[in-house]
């Protein structure tokens, strides 16, 4: 069988690209053929991994899988021309988060939202990587959407043996954008640091814009001078080292369609504190500490103190995290994907 895939954009550290390439490894393992295509590719993508979209012949494949994460012109015609198509929603961030800081990004999100609805009406079958995304797509399309969770392949990751530093370190990994709320992470960390003066916060992620990066850096300099490191452009090996050197993972995002770094934190045995918004709750399950809308940064600061110092709690969270990761394992997700594609091919 031939399955081609479309990505809205491809990049070496992009989560959606990682998923499409993980799907491809699975498909090849089953002896299925096909290629992956994207209209734009960021610098650093390995040559030949993803082809330019204009080379795609949509009717060639038995199934065309569209990994949708943002506006890309011309997709509707390709989906309409495909013999069978599966639209997988990886979520489009609501535009209102970007109007004030990056209007062009806001316009792209707005267009993406409209395009998602259009593609949902054209695609043969619909899927999403989380129930949160599925519910959103159902409301747009008015028909059934299945959930195929993110495929988290641990085989390429180093072991979780910690390489802790003497300073207690809090980590968050995610693009520096308004909805990821790194500002709240900094505030909670700064509050905790009044009792742990050696503590460090590491924020890994490419900034939305130089202005937005400067705003966060200014907040960090004001509330926790010298204790917050902003890092971007890390290699995979360097990123894994940041996880291994950390003592806790803190995610206070206001909107997440999935959040793969939560699974990475689980893999590296980090206790996770996260805000229960978007798909975060369903990804974490009972394997982390979830704060809700009634909690504030004071509660988060107290929790940081507890999860960093309480060995019994850390051990329990590690056990739960291992159980949780099994649900996103290669085999478990592979079965669902294969069922979905085989069912479509047979129809």
């Amino acid at each position: 069988m031939r399955v081609d895939q479309i990505l809205c954009a491809a990049g070496p550290v992009d989560g959606v690209t990682g998923q499409a390439l993980a799907y491809r490894r699975l498909l090849r393992g089953w002896g299925w053929q096909g290629e992956d295509y994207a209209p734009v590719q960021a610098a650093g993508m390995p040559g030949g991994a993803v082809r330019p979209l204009h080379q795609l012949r949509p009717a060639r494949a038995e199934v065309l899988v569209v990994h949708y994460s943002g506006y890309a012109p011309g997709l509707a015609g390709l989906v309409a021309a495909a013999r069978r198509s599966l639209l997988v929603s990886h979520n489009v961030t609501p535009a209102h988060y970007f109007w004030a800081s990056d209007p062009a990004e806001a316009v792209r999100c707005q267009l993406g939202r409209a395009q998602l609805g259009e593609l949902a009406s054209l695609a043969g079958a619909l899927a999403a990587v989380s129930e949160f995304n599925a519910a959103d797509l159902r409301s747009l399309a008015g028909r059934e959407v299945s959930v195929i969770p993110v495929l988290f392949d641990r085989r390429g990751l180093p072991d979780s043996r910690p390489h802790r530093t003497s300073s207690p370190t809090v980590l968050f990994v995610g693009r520096l954008t308004p909805h990821k709320r790194q500002d709240l992470v900094i505030r909670a960390f700064a509050r905790w640091r009044t009792r742990e003066p050696d503590a460090r916060l590491v924020l890994v992620g490419t900034p939305l814009s130089p202005d937005f990066a400067a705003t966060l850096a200014g907040l960090a300099a004001e509330l926790a001078p010298g204790a917050v490191a902003f890092e971007s452009g890390l290699s995979a090996g360097q990123l894994w080292e940041r996880y291994r050197a950390a003592d806790a993972f803190l995610c206070l995002s206001e909107h997440e369609g999935f959040c793969i770094p939560l699974l990475e934190a689980f893999h590296f045995g980090l206790p996770v504190i996260a805000r229960d918004t978007g798909a975060v709750g369903e990804v974490i399950g009972e394997a982390g500490v979830l704060v809700d809308g009634d909690d504030g940064v004071g509660t988060v600061a107290e929790l940081l103190g507890i999860v960093v110092s309480d060995g019994e709690l850390r051990a329990e969270l590690r056990v739960r995290a291992e159980r949780r990761l099994a649900q996103f394992a290669h085999d478990a997700v592979g079965v669902r994907l294969r069922e979905q594609l085989a069912m479509m091919a047979a129809s």
């Binding site: 610098a43 650093g44 535009a95 209102h96 988060y97 970007f98 109007w99 004030a100 800081s101 209007p103 806001a106 308004p178 909805h179 709320r181 709240l184 505030r187 509050r191 130089p210 452009g233 206001e254 009972e286 982390g288 500490v289 979830l290 704060v291 809308g293 909690d295 504030g296 940064v297 004071g298 509660t299 988060v300 600061a301 107290e302 929790l303 507890i306 999860v307 309480d310 019994e312 709690l313 329990e316 969270l317």
Partner: protein, 116 residues
């Protein structure tokens, strides 16, 4: 403790009533852009400092890109001026509309008020 819920309850109890717990807005406000901000954005001024390479060892690439910007400065200047002119007209139009709406709302309020 072994249960995350127990940890959360302990943290909530410790944080209850503290200034930090109550002072920080938890959700972002509506991201609507004010007309003043719109006017600030209208006049675009591309900065050469923001032309750079994100690649490893990208310093020579950055230098080449900045040289190209310098060589094309006449063309970039014309393009920026053209875009700024359009942006400023749109921003001014929005401001006039905003003012007009405010005047109409005020007039409607005056009309709806019962005579004293």
């Amino acid at each position: 403790m072994k249960d995350p819920q127990e940890a959360l309850a302990a943290a909530r109890a410790a944080a209850a009533g503290t200034r930090e717990e109550e002072a920080t807005p938890w959700s972002l406000e509506d991201g609507t852009v004010s007309t003043r901000r719109l006017a600030e954005w209208a006049m675009i001024q591309p900065e050469t400092a923001r032309v750079y390479s994100t690649r490893r060892l990208g310093r020579p690439i950055t230098a080449v890109k900045r040289l190209l910007v310098r060589m094309l400065r006449q063309y970039i200047g014309q393009m920026s001026a053209q875009q700024s002119r359009f942006n400023a007209q749109v921003a001014a139009h929005v401001m006039r509309l905003e003012q007009r709406v405010a005047e109409l709302e005020e007039a409607a309020r005056d009309r709806d008020q019962p005579p004293a």
